[in-house]
Symmetry: C2
Subunit: 197 residues, 2 copies
């Protein structure tokens, strides 16, 4: 007889729990504010387990940042390569559900001096935001080619504007303690990109 499937799922392996705990702590407290001890406590893993799987905090942080960056990229690409016109896809990407007051888990790392000073930790941050600008520029170029956007639109420049509005929208929302300025900034950009007829 097969075992009945009514028990709790087995706990994730320790290495996985350590990476997940690091992701959460990086988002909440930043790199400098995240201690190895806090990671072990959140993961329910001991110091021996941590150093069995990872050489230390930078190694764990790299695994955490890489996983977060891959998720964000897959999510963005799903929307930008999905159905709809170019403007609809950019709008879907701008409007996707976000945890606005926590900010962007990748973009926030640019404000962490220790992450920016370490070329290994900084690489996935730079690559993810760079990839996003290139992918958005491709979609905006499509929209210009098919007449959705005016010929004056420069795809690379506008792509940088789109990413900046999101990253800056998080800053405004945190300053205000309210998601409204983020939504206003996004709506303002969409109105400029595609003025109502």
């Amino acid at each position: 007889m097969l075992p009945v499937n009514d028990t709790a799922p087995p706990p994730a392996p320790a290495a996985d729990r350590l990476v997940e705990a690091t992701r959460e702590l990086l988002w909440e407290r930043g790199y400098t504010g995240t201690s190895p001890k806090a990671i072990q406590q959140r993961a329910g893993a001991g110091q021996g387990s941590m150093y069995h799987h990872f050489t230390g905090k930078p190694d764990l942080a790299l695994a955490a940042i890489t996983r977060t960056a891959e998720e964000l990229r897959a999510l963005a690409d799903g929307l930008l390569s999905g159905p709809g016109t170019a403007v609809e896809r950019v709008t879907a990407y701008l409007r996707r559900e976000r945890d606005v007051l926590r900010g962007c888990p990748v973009g926030r790392l640019t404000q962490d001096p220790e992450v920016m000073a370490d070329p290994v930790l900084r690489a996935p941050v730079e690559q993810t935001l760079g990839w996003l600008r290139v992918r958005l520029a491709e979609v905006l170029a499509e929209g210009r080619a098919n007449g959705e956007l005016p010929p004056s639109v420069d795809p690379s420049g506008t792509a940088a504007t789109v990413v900046a509005v999101l990253q800056g929208g998080y800053v405004l929302a945190r300053a205000a303690g309210d998601t409204a300025p983020f939504d206003q900034a996004v709506t303002g950009l969409i109105t400029l990109l595609a003025p109502p007829a």
Copy 2:
């Protein structure tokens, strides 16, 4: 005979040097990364002098943040209330010289958990970014009323977009280690606001 004016200027009073040192350190290292000792060293002031003038690090930080916020506000208002059409004034504000790789000395504080958790330190950050959005909305409303901007432009929404592009442009520049994405994001926005004829 009057004294000849060829000597070095007298040193600034200690209270002033302490505030300036705190401003620099907040910008470079953030609040959490700034110790009272580092402030005293940079200011060339002793611990006794510091606690004679200020109750402690939060009190000094408030003086430093308030002074920075007042400067930014005066600079923005000078450009937004200066000569030129509405679009020219918003463009002048977007294009003003900035220390892009160091980021916005006010906006960066939103990424500092200790500053955001203290209502007294957070207030000048919230007020400065809020004031900027209101002032930009006034100028954009002027531009809409006189036909420079299309009727579809919502002044408040577009004002949030303008501030977000600047704050997010700093994030992109830091991620890339290069000011180019900041300039691209600003140019992209200006092209959307005022398409070349």
